[in-house]
């Protein structure tokens, strides 16, 4: 093992070191130093990831074992990392996009006091550390360590401005909804251990281990793991925390709630692909939930006025797309979309952050408009991001989305139709956002207009890099009908999905059908794009109270309210009942009643309160003596 994998343990240790330095030194470090430390450690991790990627690309995939985390009876859980095409690709995305967002943050968070600035970078580094553990873990337990770790960082960063109650509410909501998902994940792990005695990926996915599992076991385990994924990756029914999570600083939304953490569920299922392929029922559920989430979130995004909320619902919707891909067995497509989405959604969030920064914290698009001429770089990069997410060729989103839609069509044309409708809605709300923000006349206050400016280089530099990636990122997955052997990503990931591909029967579609499918979705997206551009390019604020479907959409289908009245309130009532009735009146009442019966005895016990310590000691000695006497005479 004479290669870079030998020092791969440095990969998570570096950001951890950054966390420790910034965490402990937050009171003495200047902004320049804490920012530098925060960025450097992630950049070093990125370089290391590049070397690891090259190593893996040369065919050297392996598991590196460090120590036994738990070793009880027959259960052995190792602290080990797995380096293979799937994890090495995610490492690049996490550290690469992560580094750009760290750089961006040095400028975006510059207004914070020194110690909060250091705290922010400490949390961000801790997040990278956890995310790397999640991706590199060679078994479900190490993955779970990272899985809950990223949840913690998300909680800490959403509640970064902890003095504002709404923000900490959002942080709690995120953590708790993730915990509900985590429960599913955990039970799946217990199930696996009970049936197979192991959680190591290499063993679990081996034919010998799978043979120990019945069809019910596989379906149950995969469904429970999927419950975990719905929490982390914000799918129905656990998606409502993600829009609220926009309370955190915008770079955090870009990094955690768009590019990396929320794709953990997709990573986990792609990692477990063989189990999913063997559980058609689960696959059906995954596809349906993914598609339903994609549509639901897209409808809500149509009517949001907060720039970050639109992007948040768009993220939920795109994640739904990825689950659709997983559900129809297009694992490569899902991973592909994770990658392109990381580029364009991070770009869009960072662009939105640049706008919010320039607007002095304003997030309502109704008060924006016409920013095109004030912020040229932000505008241009943002436009590229919008084109990418709308699925316009040859931008990256087109290729990944096309692959998913084609796979959906093969599976069932109905899935494809709904998928295309969602894609059309995506193009519409993105260009509604674009139009309201960058086109038309400025609708904000005079003061804001005076303040408008292009952001500094630390902000525009990451935007430019991400814009380039959002444009060209899709070219590693060009469909076969355009270029033979063009889908380099598929070839790269082939070892990970080999077994799954071997047992699924492939239905090829004709080239004519494929062109037709592509044409329909691109045409739909273009029409929506142009319509939104024209309509919202000259948007004027009209004061009307929303009615009908608009009102329902603006209120997000009232899902939060429904959860509140069906789960939160009943739980609170039940707890109150336990506390006031059963505990105080029931059990304690019984005990106190018994106490009254022995009232006489209690009066005798008053000597306990004599206050003479000598007497107490005397009594204890007496007691001991009595024991000895019993022993002598019995």
């Amino acid at each position: 093992m004479n290669n870079v994998l030998q020092i791969a343990w440095l990969l998570p240790i570096l950001p951890l070191l950054g966390f420790i330095i910034n965490g402990l030194g937050r009171n003495i470090l200047s902004k320049a130093i804490s920012g530098l430390v925060g960025c450097l450690v992630v950049f070093a991790s990125f370089l290391l990831s590049v070397f690891i990627f090259i190593e893996v690309k040369n065919g050297n995939s392996q598991v590196v074992h460090y120590f036994d985390f738990l070793n009880v009876d027959l259960l052995k859980i190792a602290f080990a990392f797995k380096f293979d095409p799937l994890s090495s690709l995610f490492l690049l995305i996490i550290t690469g996009v992560g580094f750009l967002i760290h750089v961006y943050s040095t400028s975006y968070m510059h207004g914070e006091p020194d110690k909060d600035f250091a705290k922010y970078f400490a949390y961000l580094n801790l997040f990278i550390f956890s995310m790397l553990l999640l991706v590199m873990g060679a078994n479900y337990v190490v993955m779970f360590i990272g899985w809950e770790g990223v949840g913690l960082c998300s909680y800490l960063l959403i509640g970064y401005w902890f003095r504002i109650n709404d923000y900490t509410n959002a942080a709690n909501k995120a953590f708790i909804m993730n915990r509900i998902g985590d429960l599913g994940f955990l039970i799946a792990v217990f199930w696996l251990i009970a049936k197979t005695g192991t959680v190591e990926f290499d063993q679990v996915f081996s034919a010998a281990t799978i043979a120990k599992l019945s069809a019910t076991d596989i379906t149950g385990i995969t469904l429970l793991l999927f419950v975990g994924a719905t929490g982390k990756s914000a799918q129905i029914p656990l998606y409502t925390w993600l829009p609220d999570a926009m309370a955190g600083p915008t770079p955090v939304s870009a990094l955690i709630h768009a590019a990396t953490m929320v794709t953990a569920g997709i990573y986990m299922i792609a990692r477990s692909n063989i189990l999913y392929t063997m559980a058609p029922v689960t696959q059906g559920v995954v596809a349906m939930v993914g598609l339903a989430t994609a549509v639901l979130a897209a409808t809500i995004a149509l009517k949001q006025n907060d720039i970050k909320k639109v992007l948040a619902y768009s993220t939920v919707s795109q994640l739904g797309y990825m689950f659709l891909a997983l559900g129809v067995g297009a694992y490569t497509g899902a991973v592909f979309h994770v990658m392109t989405h990381a580029f364009f959604k991070a770009l869009l969030f960072l662009g939105a952050g640049s706008v919010i920064h320039a607007m002095g914290g304003e997030q309502d698009m109704r008060n924006m408009g016409g920013l095109k001429k004030y912020m040229r770089t932000t505008h241009l990069t943002f436009l590229l991001g919008c084109l990418a997410i709308a699925g316009i060729p040859p931008f990256s989103g087109f290729f990944s989305k096309d692959e998913i839609l084609a796979a959906a069509y093969v599976h069932n044309p109905v899935l494809w139709v709904i998928g295309v409708i969602t894609a059309v809605m995506t193009a519409f709300y993105m260009f509604r956002l674009y139009g309201m923000t960058f086109l038309g006349k400025f609708r904000g206050s005079h003061e804001q207009e005076h303040h408008l400016h292009e952001s500094p280089a630390a902000i525009t530099f990451p935007l430019i890099i991400l814009a380039i990636l959002a444009v060209v990122g899709g070219w590693i997955g060009v469909p076969k009908i355009f270029v033979h052997g063009g889908h380099r990503l598929e070839a790269f990931l082939e070892p990970v999905f080999r077994e799954s591909n071997a047992i699924t029967t492939k239905h090829e579609i004709t080239h004519a059908t494929e062109y037709m499918l592509m044409g329909v979705s691109v045409a739909g997206a273009l029409i929506a794009l142009i319509y939104a551009w024209r309509r919202y390019g000259k948007y004027q604020q009209i004061e009307t109270s929303p009615k009908g479907i608009t009102k329902i959409l603006e209120n997000k289908w009232y899902v939060d309210e429904i959860y509140n009245s069906t789960i939160v309130q009943p739980l609170r009532s039940l707890s109150g009942f336990f506390n006031n009735i059963i505990e105080r009146k029931g059990i304690d009442g019984l005990v106190n009643g018994t106490g009254k019966l022995v009232n006489y005895g209690s009066r005798q016990l008053r000597w306990l309160q004599s206050g003479q310590v000598g007497a107490y000691v005397l009594l204890m000695v007496l007691g001991i003596l009595i024991l000895f006497i019993i022993q002598l005479f019995l």
Binding site: V72, D73, L152, F175, I193, A194, N592, Q609, V617, Q631
Partner: protein, 496 residues
């Protein structure tokens, strides 16, 4: 060393001696110094004992004194895996508790510290005794000082709380005593090295050989279980606990929740399950059901608690419920999980109490609704609390995760439904813990918390030790797990 004195003897006699010396100390300062000094020496001894686990050191770890004309009871003390871990927890807990509360002043300090150390001696005895009568003696020796400590140094409603505590635990103890005598009368004849013999014996290994029918086991099980269930406590024997925790002086609450609740779990491990394996198996479903009801029930009540101390008390009831359920799952994974978690729970809850005590001293209130925005005023205190709270909800890389993971796994292997339902507790724990953090620490400070200052260097140090332990065991739990392997294997052997 082994030929002169053994580890268990040192662990018992030293705090006893120190306690007696404390009683005669004239000044508060002297009593406090003696208590702290001796508890630190004891910690050193206990820590040393962790390195002498090998079978060849048997003479260092076990001793059996008998005296002429006895009734089959001897002074038989020894350290096995579980005992070693719990004596270490006891030895570790006391200096932390004494140091953390060293700023508090008590009236009549010499007896306060004296009683504390007597209680420690009793606890050490409980964890080392291999003789039933000796076990009972130490059980009471550990409890009686606590009655005095609560009733004399406690809060406003201390009399009421102590009375409830006393009735519960004393009732349980008496039932156990009846059980002990009954089993004793069914043990075989015992011959001693000096040629004498006794009709019966209290020794643990003789108790194991007692002639008990399945019918006998069934009711004896409940006699012993009563004492242990009250001590843990398991639903519905728990209502003494929140009041006692709330009303006792904080240092006593720390002893009670950090170490003393482990007496109940320990009793199940060393006495209840091995003595009555048939009954334990027969009633395992009933006990687990009670324990799981306790988890959900106590977690729900914690959701609506306004009193910080009671919140921690109910949270502890939920955690102990999980440990109790896992014990009765009776497989090696669940046993070792419980043993690891007993240690972790002790450390974590003491840390929580230290923080709550600091908050109460700084603000004068312990109600969540009156507090707000402490994070802004006391960031270091907040960081410490948040880490302990995260350990309380078993976040990975804190010590509670490996413990709870093993317990849930073991419980799941016993019965999937028990494992799955008990695991709902991790969601509820997150809800009440995060809510507490949010209300008390986040937001803007109010009139009560405006004057709060951050903790001193000394307090940082004490809390820092706990935090380090949390992470150390959280990242690398295996050495602690290995310590309990022999005990778990032996226990499995008894149940088969």
């Amino acid at each position: 060393m082994g030929s002169y004195i053994t580890f268990p003897e040192l662990l018992i006699w030293l705090p006893l001696l120190a306690g007696i010396i404390c009683f005669f100390a004239k000044k508060e300062h002297a009593a406090k110094s003696i208590a702290i000094l001796f508890s630190l020496i004891l910690l050193g001894i206990s820590a040393t004992s962790l390195f002498y686990t090998d079978a060849k050191y048997i003479n260092w770890n076990a001793v059996n004194y008998f005296y002429p004309n006895n009734i089959g009871n001897t002074f038989y003390v020894a350290l096995d895996g579980t005992g070693r871990l719990l004596t270490f927890l006891t030895a570790l807990a006391f200096p932390i508790i004494l140091l953390a509360t060293s700023k508090n002043s008590y009236k009549n300090p010499s007896s306060f510290y004296g009683l504390m150390l007597l209680s420690q001696a009793g606890l050490m005895g409980v964890f080392c005794s291999m003789d039933a009568l000796l076990f009972y003696f130490f059980w009471e020796l550990a409890l009686i000082p606590v009655y005095f400590l609560c009733s004399r140094w406690g809060g406003e409603k201390r009399i009421q709380a102590t009375f409830k505590f006393f009735v519960y635990t004393f009732g349980g103890s008496l039932l156990m005593l009846i059980g002990i005598i009954y089993v004793y009368l069914h043990t075989p004849e015992r011959f001693f090295e000096d040629g004498t013999h006794a009709a019966h014996s209290f020794a643990l290994n003789y108790f194991y050989r007692a002639q008990l029918s399945a019918g006998d086991q069934n009711w004896l099980f409940w006699l012993f279980f009563a004492a242990f269930a009250v001590k843990m406590p398991v639903f519905p024997f728990h209502t003494w606990q929140p009041d006692t925790y709330d009303q006792s002086p904080t240092s006593v609450t720390m002893v009670l929740s950090g170490v003393m609740v482990k007496m109940g779990l320990f009793g199940v491990i060393r006495w209840l399950i091995p003595l009555f394996p048939l009954a334990a198996e027969r009633y395992s479903h009933l006990v687990i059901t009670l324990a799981i009801i306790g988890i959900i029930y106590a977690s729900c009540i914690a959701l609506v608690q306004d009193n910080l101390k009671k919140l921690v008390a109910y949270s502890s009831i939920a955690h102990i419920g999980l440990m109790c359920a896992s014990l009765f799952a009776m497989n090696q994974i669940s046993f070792q999980g419980v043993m690891l978690q007993m240690f972790n729970h002790g450390i974590n809850i003491i840390g929580l109490w230290i923080v709550i005590d600091l908050i109460e001293k700084k603000t004068g209130v312990k109600n969540i609704s009156q507090l707000s925005g402490i994070a802004h005023k006391a960031p270091v205190l907040t960081i410490m609390l948040v880490i302990m709270a995260l350990a309380n909800i078993a976040l990975p890389l804190t010590n509670a995760f490996p413990g709870e993971f093993l317990m849930f796994t073991g419980l799941y292997m016993f019965n999937p439904w028990y494992g799955a339902i008990a695991a709902v507790g991790i969601i509820l724990a997150a809800v009440y813990t995060l809510k507490m953090i949010q209300r008390v620490f986040y937001g803007d400070s109010n009139a009560i918390t405006d004057q709060v200052t951050d903790i001193s260097f000394f307090q940082k140090l004490v809390l820092g030790i706990i935090v380090c332990l949390i992470f150390l065991i959280g990242v690398y739990p295996q050495p602690v797990i290995d310590l309990t392997k022999d005990a778990a294997v032996a226990l499995i052997g008894r149940t088969k």
